[in-house]
């Protein structure tokens, strides 16, 4: 068994690196989406255990996507972790206050990414 994680990021390279990291290092199953809209659809149909969500995206941005995921009864229980290039602690605090399970800063270390995700998911 492995965890099933959905990555939503508009940057194909980052999707690929994160996917490889979670698949190869932790052995997880990874779904990817390149936009908020596509991500919400996949989350709803595939019911991943968690969503890794980019913050700055064209179209629906991260916070808007999170809001829609929370409003949808099929996805509201799925924990969301922001993956953000915003470095400020204040910005990260704002993101957490939106109801995300946690925030992981970009660039991330691919070797410990899975570990960071697990820590956030398991935290109370």
């Amino acid at each position: 068994m492995s965890r099933r994680i959905l990555i939503i990021d508009d940057e194909a390279d980052i999707r690929e690196v994160a996917q490889m990291s979670l698949e190869l290092i932790a052995g997880w199953q990874v779904l990817t989406a390149s936009s908020g809209t596509e991500g919400i659809e996949l989350a709803s149909s595939q019911q991943p255990e968690a969503v890794l969500l980019d913050v700055m995206m064209p179209g629906l941005d991260g916070p808007q996507t999170l809001q829609l995921l929370q409003a949808n009864e099929r996805t509201h229980a799925i924990p969301v972790i922001f993956l953000t290039a915003k470095a400020q602690t204040s910005e990260q605090r704002l993101l957490r206050d939106l109801g995300a399970r946690g925030v992981i800063a970009k660039p991330f270390d691919p070797v410990t990414l899975a570990h960071q995700v697990v820590e956030l998911l398991d935290s109370p």
Binding site: S2, E11, V17, I25, G27, S90, P107
Partner: protein, 714 residues
């Protein structure tokens, strides 16, 4: 000889004489004419205009005499001014008052004297017009009358001189007044044109806030002609004032109201002017009470305000720009860092050693570039005043302990000990920012301390000031660099950023953070070598000071240092998740992250909760906060051997009874297995016991547990 007595009006007489400003002035025609006429008319050799001063008689005009003054004591004129009419001595030899007078017995051999007193307007006799002969003489009534006329002529001249002096004085003071008035007009004109041409709005208000004057800029900024502002009460306006969050501005918080009620200056208050039909204008307002020496309360208030709408817009754009740049730089770096990390981890296939080294180099430099971007973003935002402080009541000793705990792995790697010598203090500060400062200072201290040394963080509160000191015994800062190191990219040694992995911005950030808190930072030498970095922060009056000192070394396991503050409001805000008891089944001490992920997953599949730490230090700290049901320990850890941890557990009363499983790649010798520590542990060898089997063994230890879901380890 008999000396003349002093007149009864002597002081006033002398004052009147001096006010003429004639004594010791050059001779003048107007008097010389009179004396010449007198000498001719009386056919006598000497004629004088003599002014009787305190101790002498001084001759304003003098015909036939070689001196300008003689002593009053021997003077004839001194006698003459005691009379109202002419004073005549026909023959001095025959008069007992003068017979032995040196002026009679010696030069100029006075025999005959006639003096007409000179009287000023107030009746004071200032001197005489006199004629003198060397032979006895008797004047006719006509001659005495002539002397009287000449005397009055001289009196007229004296009066004229007095009038002229008064006139001169008046015209001088008029000129002075005119000059003062002119320079006042000029300075008023300058001030007026400054006030009129200023971009800043300026109003004066009476003590009730009613506008008494307003410059054109005030009208321009507020969107009405300046004249219309006059007489208007402060809070009765056609516009609305909004505070920064968009809510109506609290009238009691208006600087003019504050300045007039408290008598204190109130500066740089930001508000928006929302007038119908105009776009929102942002202004900063300052108010200064105007005082007078004779009044205790201000009599008026001066307000100045500036339109900062454009500046705010530019700041916002700049802010967004910095944020976007930072994001745009970070995005490709994320892919680069990720790709390099994956390659370096070996999951994509083993690499030749040299290639691995090159990759590690690429990874560490990518990390450095990221730190640099973070620091530049940080410092830019702080120095533009855009990084608002998020202040709260903060337990400083707790903050110090946490910071040191986070840095302990780094310190242990460098062989440096960290110690907190923190007084228990609650201060009003931005905990994230102050943690950043402390982290910077302590990690610098670690970098520049030789192994075996100790770094102490000392905090103390005194007189509303919080002092933080980071004391090291490292290589120290040369005296000529103690200021420069707080500038950007100014390290003590140019190679430091390369060798020590710093960005060259750490201390500049520390200084910005301190300044934002209204504090300061500097460095001093430590006694016996090394550096002491000192920070001072005002604590605010609501801060609670020392309650009791807390000694915390972090290696004794006494990590539960909760706030011990008496004040309820503060202790509740200062209590964090740190102090809540944590319950966990397994503490996993494993430095291989991928194996840790697998083990954690497997434990979770048995519904066993776990906490993972990567070093002895982290384990010791975690065990200060919670007691697990079981420990799973790797032996080869970055900061020592797992057996040290087992020994520490055995020596630690409550922790000694926790079952310990060792999961190690080491093939343990028989001797090792019999070591005291390992006799207390169950040994599993990586490669012989697979993770799945290990976890089911753990489940057995912890009672009847069945896997709730299936996990396939990678």
């Amino acid at each position: 000889m008999i000396e003349a007595p002093r007149p009864s009006d002597e002081p006033l007489r002398l004052a009147s004489l001096r006010s003429l400003n004639m004594l010791d002035t050059p001779a003048e025609d107007r008097f010389d004419r009179i004396t010449r006429i007198a000498a001719l008319a009386f056919d006598l050799p000497v004629a004088l205009v003599s002014l009787v001063d305190e101790n002498r008689q001084w001759f304003k005009s003098c015909v036939g005499l070689g001196v300008r003054e003689t002593p009053r004591s021997v003077s004839f004129c001194g006698h003459a001014i005691m009379q109202s009419d002419a004073f005549v001595i026909d023959d001095a030899h025959e008069d007992p008052r003068f017979a032995d007078n040196p002026l009679v017995t010696g030069p100029p051999f006075v025999r005959f004297y006639a003096g007409q007193p000179l009287v000023d307007e107030a009746g004071h006799k200032l001197g005489t017009l006199c004629v003198i002969g060397h032979e006895p003489r008797r004047l006719t009534a006509g001659q005495i009358e002539l002397l009287g006329h000449l005397g009055r002529w001289a009196e007229e001249e004296l009066r004229t001189i007095g009038l002229e002096a008064a006139l001169r004085e008046r015209s001088e003071s008029m000129t002075r007044l005119e000059e003062v008035a002119y320079s006042l007009r000029q300075s008023e004109e300058i001030h007026r044109s400054v006030v009129t041409s200023m971009h800043e709005g300026i109003c004066t208000h009476d003590i009730d806030g009613v506008v008494t004057t307003a410059n054109p800029a005030a009208g321009r900024i507020l969107g009405v002609p300046a004249e219309e502002l006059l007489g208007r009460p402060l809070l009765d306006s056609p516009w609305r004032c909004l505070s920064e969050d968009g809510s109506p501005f609290d009238p009691a918080a208006h600087p003019v109201v504050i300045a007039s009620s408290t008598g204190e200056r109130c500066t740089d208050v930001v508000m928006a002017i929302d007038a119908p039909g105009r776009p929102l204008r942002w202004i900063t307002v300052s108010a200064h009470p105007l005082r007078r020496d004779d009044l205790e309360t201000p009599w008026a208030v001066l307000s100045t305000f500036e339109d900062v709408t454009e500046r705010r817009a530019v700041d916002q754009m700049k802010n967004e720009f910095v944020s976007v740049v930072s994001h745009e730089l970070r995005t490709p770096l994320t892919s680069i860092r990720g790709a390099l990390g994956l390659l370096a981890s070996g999951v994509l296939g083993e690499l030749p050693d040299r290639a691995g080294q090159m990759l590690d180099l690429a990874v560490s430099n990518t990390d450095r570039l990221v730190r640099l971007i973070n620091d530049i973003l940080d410092i830019e935002r702080m120095e533009s005043g855009k990084a608002d402080l998020n202040r709260g009541q903060t337990d400083v000793s707790d903050l110090v302990v946490r910071t040191l705990d986070a840095l302990r792995p780094m310190a242990e790697q460098a062989g440096v000990a960290l110690r907190s010598d923190a007084e228990h203090v609650i201060a009003w500060l931005d905990a994230d920012r102050v943690t950043q400062v402390l982290t910077n200072l302590v990690s610098n201290a670690i970098k520049f301390s030789p192994a075996g040394q100790e770094i102490v963080v000392h905090t103390a509160a005194n007189d509303g000031v919080l002092r933080l000191a980071v004391i090291d015994h490292g290589r120290g800062v040369p005296l000529d660099k103690v200021d420069a190191i707080f500038e950007r990219f100014q390290q003590v040694d140019a190679s430091d950023s390369r060798d020590k992995g710093g960005t060259g911005l750490g201390l500049a950030i520390c200084r910005s953070i301190m300044e934002q808190h209204g504090g300061s930072i500097w460095v001093e030498p430590t006694d016996g070598g090394g550096s002491t970095f000192l920070c001072e922060l005002p604590m605010r009056s609501c801060d609670t000071s020392v309650v009791r000192p807390v000694a915390h070394t972090g290696t004794t396991g006494s990590g539960t240092v909760g706030p011990r503050v008496v004040d309820d409001a503060e202790s509740s805000s200062a209590t964090g998740p740190w102090d809540e008891p944590l319950v966990v089944d397994v503490v996993l001490v494993e430095d291989d992250p991928s194996l840790a992920v697998v083990l954690v997953e497997l434990l979770a599949s048995y519904d066993m909760s776990s906490k993972t730490v990567r070093s002895l230090a982290e384990a010791r700290h975690l065990l200060g906060r919670l007691t697990p049901n079981l420990m799973l320990v790797d032996l080869g850890l970055p900061d020592g051997d797992g057996t040290e941890l087992i020994a520490w557990l055995l020596a630690n009363g409550a922790l000694a009874s926790i079952p310990v499983l060792v999961y190690t790649a080491r093939d343990l010798e028989e001797d090792d297995q019999r070591s005291v520590e390992l006799q207390h542990a169950e040994i599993h060898t990586k490669g012989r016991t697979d993770p799945q089997a290990l976890i089911s063994r753990i489940a057995e230890h912890l009672g009847d547990r069945r896997p709730s879901r299936k996990v396939t380890p990678a």
